[in-house]
Amino acid sequence: MSKILLQIDGIEVKAEEGETILKASQNAGISIPTICYNEKLESFGGCRMCTVEVERNGYIKHVVSCVYPVEDKLIVRTRSEKIDSTRKMLLELLMARAPDSVKLKELAEEYGADKNRFEKEANFCIHCGLCVRYCDEVKKLNAVGFVNRGAKKEISFVPEIASKECWDCKECFPLCPTSALQTAYVLIESLAFSRTSSENTTTIKD
């Protein structure tokens, strides 16, 4: 693997070929905000929070750093007025959905996002896909998936799989940046899971 030399926020950074800008930045101790990124998973490129500005041969464009591969002599700026205002609005859009998410609140403070900017229509899930992708890529179980599309999209457990697999796993819970996942799980648990062992019956109380 050959080394690639690029510049991130004015700092010369060495990176491996095929590495993403995000990874190279993290290795160099430069922080880029992410929501849907998890190093165990294939990059999703959905939240767009990690958008950065790249410059090559004088040509400037905005790319998501969790996907864009490092290039020799690439100049990367992880913050600019434009990037900050994009991140601010992305957060404001997400906070109309999940106003109380701790993760979003922290980022909102950093970028001065107003959680009341857009009319709230809270459904808590911000479609980062971490649970869905973790269950697919790491656990290879596909017990949780997306249903519907666009603004109507939501996460849903597949009862046939979830009732067998989820009790002893729940590894996706800590990945969720909002409380949506637990809510969805509890809901499907109460509606559809078949309870055969006595220990399971104690988990739901009236």
Binding site: C47, T51, V67, L93, F118, H127, A151
Partner: protein, 640 residues
């Protein structure tokens, strides 16, 4: 059908097919495209067949269900070949008369001819109808000449001769060079040079390569690709095989939306026929070149017209775009080099090979060559598919070909480029159509949608409509598109409902910037265009909605009121009787008044009030005048 093993055998077969056909024998060609079928073409086709059998006329006349000739507004369309006599809006009842008059007595049935709405002049032949006269039909012209389900018909018009030419005399590089030289640009929306795209795939290291037809046409009101797929599927397949040869691919896909059942059926029939003749499969025409093609049906998502989403769907996964910074012609379907071109782009390829790049580049503008098919719809006299040379002005398309705006209404704008396109106002009607020309006017070519709007169209509502479409079709993967379009829709809906407020335009502009800049795929990046282009050219309408609560087009229901002018009302009771919500107070000899509380603004009173009275008036942005006191409402007939 037997396998054809060489170009020489193909020539023999073609000669054989032609020798059995008499070019002078009349043929009644009836459009069997989706539009005409919906207007009853199947019954007309059956009617002709039955009548011809009944009168035992099979020896002197043929019938043929053909592809769409374009003038869908006046279907079912019947053209008598070879003379070209054209009858419009034909019903099964007209069949005996056409047989006895035109086929037997060589006379024209006057009442079925095209009548120019402006001059009252009748046109006997298809070529005399202004709609056709000003077009340059290079690609869609064959639709009417063939039965779309007959490969022999396609062969009779020189079909697969371009493939034969390629496989016998041209190297892969020569084919690529010819396409590059033709400057053919993708007809699906992006306008990317096809030759350049092909070259990228050809030069890629991977051995396995794919060619794909993007037939996921989904723009509201657009049906160019549908007409080609339904009417002349072999032309697309032939183009695809040639492309595959040029880049070294042996497997292709046709991604067609399942909402086009006739297209799916006709394409599948065409593939089967091509396989039987040996145009697809192993050792095509004895050249040693192998190529197979499969049909994949889309499951109803607009975003699957986007290249990475289409390929993800082809791989059997949820059709969502992928965040990739490597072009799909290098790393596409299953990470292999994949050339994805639109239906119309592929259909242009056999023409370029047969007639040459020099012929092809004669037509067009500096950067847009050849012709383009547009679907001309909306407030236009002649609705249908038009194929024009690049560089024709919008004005000529709308007025010369489209016959202008019906009902004496005033033109307001033409929306081009599909939902992500833009609205072009009257003062730019001299704009020439071309990829870069339309982009300069803040619209785009897109796949060729052209929606004409008149003075009754509210431009804020038009923007709202398209954003709603895109919001519905957003896959929801990325935040800016999923959440941004819904916020834009909310704000635009508020504005059209009179709930717009100061700062709305600025907020929409900021949202547009974020979508444009940060969305994952082209759907999201261009989603703000309907808003941005209407704001650019019709800002006054936005401001009137927000500040004065006024819809100048008198279209937004929440902002208009109906009022009956007591000076003009003749107490005829027409509106009183037709009102579905009992919102008209009145009776005979008593001037009518609209009950604003009960009025649902359905427009019925406005429509039924005779033009000579014109008593029902729509108002917006002003208070409804107080009704005259009940004691003054007695109608007294004015003396003449």
């Amino acid at each position: 059908m037997s396998q054809i093993n060489s170009p020489a055998e193909l020539d023999l077969l073609r000669k054989d097919i032609l020798s059995k056909r008499d070019p002078d024998k009349p043929c009644i060609s009836i459009c069997a495209g989706a539009g005409c079928l919906a207007s009853g073409a199947a019954e007309v086709i059956n009617g002709f067949k039955t009548e011809i059998d009944k009168q035992s006329l099979n020896a002197i006349v043929d019938t043929k269900g053909t592809g769409c000739p374009g003038l869908c507004e006046r279907g079912p369309i019947v053209v008598i070949k070879p003379s070209g006599i054209c009858y419009l809006q034909v019903t099964p009842e007209d069949v005996p008369e056409i047989i006895s008059q035109t086929i037997k007595d060589k006379k024209v049935v006057d009442r079925l001819l095209y009548v120019d709405p402006n001059t009252g002049k009748k046109a006997i032949y298809e070529s005399d109808i202004p709609f056709y006269k000003y077009q340059e039909r290079n690609v869609i012209c064959n639709n009417i000449k063939i039965d779309s389900r007959s490969i022999d018909d396609y062969l009779a018009i020189d079909g697969y001769s371009a493939l034969s030419k390629v496989l016998t005399g041209l190297s892969e590089e020569e084919v690529l060079e010819e396409v590059k030289k033709s400057q053919l640009r993708g007809r699906g929306g992006g306008g990317f040079p096809a030759g350049k795209k092909w070259e990228g795939s050809r030069n890629a290291d991977e051995k396995t390569k794919y060619v794909i037809v993007n037939a996921d046409e989904g723009d509201p009101g657009a049906f160019m690709d549908r007409a080609l797929l339904e009417g002349n599927p072999h032309s697309i397949i032939e183009g695809l095989i040639i492309g595959a040869y040029a880049i070294g691919s042996h497997e292709g896909y046709i991604y067609v939306r399942q909402e086009y059942p006739l297209a799916v059926e006709n394409v599948n029939i065409a593939i089967k026929q091509a396989e039987e003749y040996g145009f697809l499969g192993k050792d095509i025409l004895g050249s040693g070149f192998d190529f197979v093609v499969k049909v994949h049906q889309g499951a109803g998502a607009f975003v699957c017209g986007e290249s990475s989403a289409l390929m993800t769907a082809l791989e059997g996964r949820v059709g969502e775009p992928r965040p990739k910074y490597i072009r799909s012609n290098i790393k596409g379907l299953w990470d292999k080099p994949s050339v994805l071109n639109n239906v119309e782009t592929w259909a242009n390829v056999p023409l370029i090979i047969n007639k040459g790049a020099d012929w092809y580049t004669q037509l067009g503008t500096e950067t847009s060559k050849g012709t383009k098919i547009f679907s001309l719809v909306g407030k236009i006299t002649n609705t249908g598919l038009v194929e024009v040379p690049m560089g024709m002005t919008l004005k000529d398309i709308i007025y010369k070909i489209g016959g202008g705006i019906p009902g004496g209404k005033k033109f307001k704008a033409v929306q081009t480029g599909g939902p992500s396109g833009g609205c072009i106002p009257e003062d730019q009607l001299n704009l020439k159509v071309g990829f870069d020309e339309l982009a300069k006017a803040n619209s785009m070519m897109g796949s060729g949608g052209m929606i004409v709007m008149d003075e009754d169209n509210c431009m804020v509502d038009v923007a709202r409509y398209f954003i709603e479409f895109l919001c519905d079709e957003s896959c929801g993967k990325c935040v800016p598109c999923r959440e941004g379009t819904i916020q834009m829709l909310k704000i635009l809906t508020n504005i059209t409902e009179g709930k717009g407020k100061e700062g709305d335009i600025e907020l929409l502009e900021q949202l547009s910037e974020v979508l444009n800049d940060a969305a994952l795929c082209a759907l999201g990046q261009t989603a703000p265009n309907p808003f941005l282009s209407t704001l650019l050219y019709f800002r006054d309408e936005y401001e009137a909605h927000i500040k004065d609560k006024k819809c100048t087009a008198l279209s937004c229901k929440e902002l208009i009121s109906y009022y009956i002018d007591p000076e003009k009302c003749t107490a005829c009771t027409l509106c009183f009787k037709k009102c579905p919500s009992d919102a008209i107070i009145g009776k005979k000899k008593m001037i009518h008044v609209v009950d604003q509380e009960n009025c649902t603004k359905c427009d019925t009173c406005f429509e039924v009030c005779p033009t000579k009275f014109g008593a029902v008036i729509k108002i917006s942005g002003e208070a409804v005048p107080t009704p005259i006191p009940i004691e003054d409402r007695t109608y007294i007939k004015k003396s003449k």
